[in-house]
Symmetry: C2
Subunit: 598 residues, 2 copies
């Protein structure tokens, strides 16, 4: 199927609309302000002096600001915002002014280490270039101002010379993938074949000569990409590579790439993904580990990796009409991605743990042991996630609809309308608060509505057949009404996931729930939930989603012996649960997702 880009889609109301508005009105400005304070914006003045007191601009700062520009451009595309446009124009002026005559652009490698250009693949030059290219495309699309695009075309030409013609760089492929995605977008935007050739070059070359370098699986260079079947290494790098591969395969029809992409996706979705859609189990290399190794407390699950998984899954829809890709997108967006942003839109998680036990946290915090965070913060030194949220939220329209022949696919359920040539669709819903969805469409022969993986009961008021996870029905221009049963239900992990054995997770529709000690007793491990639990729902304006009161039992605390042959007594209890993506918004608290199953 061919997904529609967000510029064709108007999101009109609902939960995700609220998140878009939060980003537009708060987060985009909060991130800009932090980037000013930390010197990221000022660095574009190229006034760093090596002998001075200031630290040099970091090698990845260009990419942080580029992602912010991309996000701001998406906002402008839908909501002209002169203040954002002025900020971008000021940055673009500086980029133009400071770009090398030969097209090279990188702040660090101009002001701090000019002699080190293209010598070390781990220094993020091509990664920064890729993000600047994506920003350039987005800004041109949003405003028709092509100054930044001109700069980046010039830079792309320089990169082609250095890496493909002269081969004068000291490495062959980037240590952090991203430019592969960007080059496909440059190709799609400009129509220039050379950019697609460059994307193909970097993808084809990866895993050839680098295999003798140490730790090559970290950046997926251990074998040629077409031979890769297991998701390995740094999870953000992996997602950006796989997305680039899938985007390229969609343009070229490359079967080897398509096959590798399918295997890699399944390896992630069937063996290496948290129930929240988070990926990357360990902070060691921010990486994938072994199949089914999904510890909850130590979960790394970088926000950017979740965003990358959404990119990858959306790109896969172009290769295979299967709802499983859209299922993963839904899982990520509503859980492990939105958890990266505070409810007030100003602070962020880099990591998104699935369990917090403060008693153990504090016991170890003086030591060298790396501890997962318990609170979101406004900025971090490696601040890739905040601007990634900036660009993801305004482009959520990318994930809703797709077309293949005369079939219009509805992948995500958001009140919105799409118009593209003769194709028109309007969806009205307050999903995921309720599961009720009204679809009005015209100009298409069939409508294929994703039946969410989590949904066991649903109603559709016309005939349909299930195909690859979609309910496919004829479109007669009339109203289609669908209702997904949103009754909260228990979810169980594959028993190979050792940490989730004998536990369950509560979901309501696509929303994963968690319990926090701020609402319950401190010892969240003392609760057990019956598999057929009863549940009361209550609307919650702060969270924008209902909270749950789940029937449970709770081991009674005792004061006596530590160990006894008498089983501790249980009392009936109610466990208050909130959406996982809202955790840690009310001070430091214990949190648990996977709860003992009765």
């Amino acid at each position: 199927m061919r997904t529609y880009r967000f510029d064709k889609v108007d999101i009109t109301s609902g939960y995700l609309f609220g998140k878009q508005e939060l980003n537009r009105l708060t987060t985009i400005n909060a991130v800009y302000d932090r980037f000013c304070e930390t010197g990221r914006i000022g660095a574009f003045d190229f006034d760093y002096v090596p002998s001075g007191d200031k630290k040099p601009p970091h090698v990845y700062w260009d990419s942080d600001v580029a992602k912010w520009i991309e996000g701001a451009a998406y906002i402008i595309k839908k909501h002209p915002t002169p203040e954002l446009e002025e900020k971008i124009d000021a940055l673009v002026d500086k980029i133009k002014k400071n770009q090398d005559k030969n097209g090279y652009f990188n702040i660090h490698f101009t002001v701090a280490s000019p002699g080190e250009r293209f010598k070390d693949r781990d220094k993020h030059e091509l990664y920064c270039a890729g993000h600047l290219m994506e920003a350039a495309v987005a800004y041109d699309e949003a405003t028709g101002k092509r100054d930044l695009l001109d700069c980046m075309e010039k830079y792309a030409d320089h990169i082609a010379r250095v890496f493909m013609e002269e081969k004068s760089a000291e490495f062959q492929t980037p240590g952090h993938e991203e430019i592969e995605i960007a080059l496909v977008r440059m190709y799609l935007h400009t129509g220039k074949q050379k950019y697609l050739d460059m994307a193909k070059h970097f993808i084809d070359t990866r895993g050839s000569s680098e295999t003798s370098e140490p730790n090559v699986s970290y950046n997926q260079s251990h074998i040629p990409v077409r031979e890769q079947t297991e998701a390995v290494g740094h999870s953000v790098r992996a997602m950006y590579l796989y997305t680039g591969m899938a985007l390229l395969a969609a343009q070229t029809g490359d079967e080897g790439l398509t096959k590798a992409c399918k295997a890699l996706f399944d390896d992630v979705a069937l063996r290496k993904m948290y129930v929240t859609g988070g990926i990357g189990s360990t902070y060691v290399g921010e990486a994938f580990t072994n199949p089914y190794d999904l510890p909850n407390e130590g979960a790394y699950t970088e926000t950017c990796a979740g965003i990358g998984l959404a990119f990858f899954a959306n790109a896969m829809l172009a290769l295979e009409n299967d709802a499983k890709y859209a299922d993963v997108i839904e899982r990520v967006i509503y859980n492990g991605l939105l958890s990266g942003l505070s409810l007030d839109g100003t602070s962020f998680f880099y990591e998104n743990p699935l369990e917090i036990n403060l008693i153990e946290h504090f016991a170890n915090e003086r030591g060298k042991k790396r501890l997962p965070p318990t609170q979101r913060v406004e900025c971090f030194s490696c601040s890739c996630c905040p601007p990634n949220i900036n660009r993801f939220l305004p482009s959520i329209g990318n994930y809703l609809y797709a077309i293949d022949g005369d079939t219009l696919f509805v992948n995500q359920f958001v009140s919105s309308k799409l118009e593209d040539g003769g194709v028109r669709i309007r969806v009205t819903t307050d999903y995921p608060i309720s599961g009720s969805i009204k679809i009005e469409a015209s100009g298409v022969g069939k409508i294929a509505v994703r039946i969410p993986e989590w949904c066991e009961k649903y109603e559709i008021d016309r005939d349909f057949e299930i195909k690859n996870g979609y309910a496919v029905m004829n479109s007669d221009g009339g109203e289609i009404n669908i209702n997904f049963d949103m009754t909260p239900h228990a979810v169980f992990a594959n028993p190979n996931v050792i940490r989730d054995c004998s536990r369950l997770c509560v979901m309501r529709g696509p929303i994963v729930y968690c319990a926090e000690s701020v609402d319950n007793s401190d010892n969240l491990h003392a609760y057990s939930i019956p598999c057929d639990f009863e549940c009361k729902e209550e609307a919650n304006a702060e969270f924008g989603l209902p909270t749950l009161e789940v029937s449970a039992s709770c081991l009674m605390p005792t004061e006596g012996k530590l160990y006894s042959s008498r089983r501790p007594e249980k009392a009936e209890a109610t466990l208050k649960m909130i959406p996982y993506n809202c955790f840690a918004n009310r001070g430091r608290t214990n949190m648990i997702v996977w709860i003992h199953a009765e």
Copy 2:
């Protein structure tokens, strides 16, 4: 009660006798050999040259060798062993030769940092002195050779001058307690009051002026010891201090000290002790943490801390006739202490984790995260535990019997005989293989037999009354037959221990059992055990204790989705369990103590 020292007690057969023999024939020599290889023995030549290539002798090396001497002396006391005696004599000659004229003795602070004596309380000088004093007493007791004792009396006098008269040291109490115990032993052995006064001085002074130092709870200097009610800081330091306090209180009748000791013991035994008797939950400072914070995988539970807890509990028996102290001794000895030694007697755990999950271990092993060990090793740089085992095992006789008035207490059940004046007792048993115990005693009015805390059913073939955990009966010189029901049973932790909620542990008598993946499937978390499990026992010569086959169920591994609303299926299964103290003797393997309770 007054406990009998091991020299009055002959252990004649059985499980612990076997461990004593292993130590006598293998471990004592293995540790000596490793101490030669690592330079610890050679350091007594005082030939280190600061300008040379070798690293200087470590500040705590004296104590490692001192503990080895003490252990060898205990062996010699019961089994004259010329080879051991020669090794000790050679060391004593070197100590005599190299001791300062003023009595000071420490290798590091003579050959490497002579100008730094008594300047830094964290540099183990008084700790080493204490261990040398204990060795000196033990060797004099074993052989009547008092050369080492003479040296150490001279050193003690020097310490008294520096710390109590001249007050010329730059600190007031040792950063690592030990000398307090040693000084009481010096007093008991020599009858010289000055040593008891020194012990009292160091104990009384602790927590007075040091309270302004950073991190004073690490070495229990945060408040005066009589005000301490919570076990804090480095767990070995804590145990040695508390033992010293209890020993002193027994000599002086000090009620304030006694009260503090009781509170500290209860804090450990009721809130901070693993089911194995291990203590010290975190590697951060090798320390106690919060009440009920007993994580299984990260359990630090240093072998020395377990040994220290046995010392402390045994000293408490002199202050209160309560079986709870002997219960803790039994728990430690049979579980978290013996787990520190490999079955072949040559390798050691410093830490004794209660769970091993190799899949997570390997995923994190390249990182900076501190990982618990999965295998015993022959030596470690901080090799305090191996010689502590050397000295503990031959002195197990210290823990068996005690007397108060005309009542003889039987605290531990080991085939043995005791003769002291008119008091005679012989115990015949293969405990803990069976629970059958025959007692023949004469010269006492009453026998008080500890009813183990773990034991719910037992038979005694005469009238008795229960008092403070002891079955007290008249002694008529005839045979008393006791039978403790050794049927394996489930044990539950206080629900405040979050990691053990909804789990159980299997014990057979005093022995904690564990499951290893080498005997079962890799995923030990998939098993659940019913609280009323059935069980087959099988004798095992390698372990010296029976193995168990426990009725269980096991979640069936599946290949499909990671998450599903269908509960994974369970199959009937049998879980093979082995004594915890035998874990990790058959290669790298997963291990679990606390298993899901059905």
